[in-house]
Symmetry: C2
Subunit: 155 residues, 2 copies
Amino acid sequence: MKVMVGGTFDPLHDGHKQLLGRSFELAGHDGQVVIGLTTDQFASRKVHPIRPFTERITDLESFLKRKNYPVRWEIEPLNDRYGSAIESDFDAIVVSEETLPVAVEINKIRRGKNKKKVDIHQISCVLAEDGRWISSTRIYRGEIDVHGHVLHDTG
Amino acid sequence: MKVMVGGTFDPLHDGHKQLLGRSFELAGHDGQVVIGLTTDQFASRKVHPIRPFTERITDLESFLKRKNYPVRWEIEPLNDRYGSAIESDFDAIVVSEETLPVAVEINKIRRGKNKKKVDIHQISCVLAEDGRWISSTRIYRGEIDVHGHVLHDTG
């Protein structure tokens, strides 16, 4: 099946890797995965600085090449929350707990446009060593590394 | 992986069949599917009469035997919205659009009990011929059959 997933992926942490891994599993051998990568302009709404698109896409591509999933994939720039998920013909969207509402919204908009609704797969967040979510913000703050290891006591 | 799914399955319509089919796909060859089937007492909160558990389980079992999925499965009686989904060790729950909130709730309760949250897979509802959802209520009302064919003009 054709699966869509999106994110800023900065830095690419274990939560992202699980999100991508599950997307490829869902797509299956004859499937396709479209990965939306937020543009610098769209990602700038984040509370912490983001590395440029060119660096983020390089990391993402080298991760995907290393994994060598037997599934077709492509990366598309994401200028807003939806990207091509409103107009595209696809089967399932993979989201995290934080982005589940966006997927529900996408289905509402699709329904309004007489497009087939898509399956929504919400993966549960990967927990860091301290039992809280791995997130880019926590990594940026220096609380944890990309694998969720606690870097120092943040009291 | 181990997948849980639940329902009243009365009558077993094309929407249920898609829900079950996707659950088995997700579980994969080495996986397991646990199907919660509402007990008569729990199902009695529905607005229309429900056939007895024994009849519903017979239909469900014969459907699953006919499909012959290469995946282990079992049926458990569901006395409430959660069944064993709070305490069990499993990977993903498959829900319809209507029951997505229950899955989100299950993860909240699991989190409170220090249980691993599970992936949530919401399948989009199967549409009847008239573009509205296939549902047991509509079948009961005689608007559509189990495949979503419109039976008469309901004006």
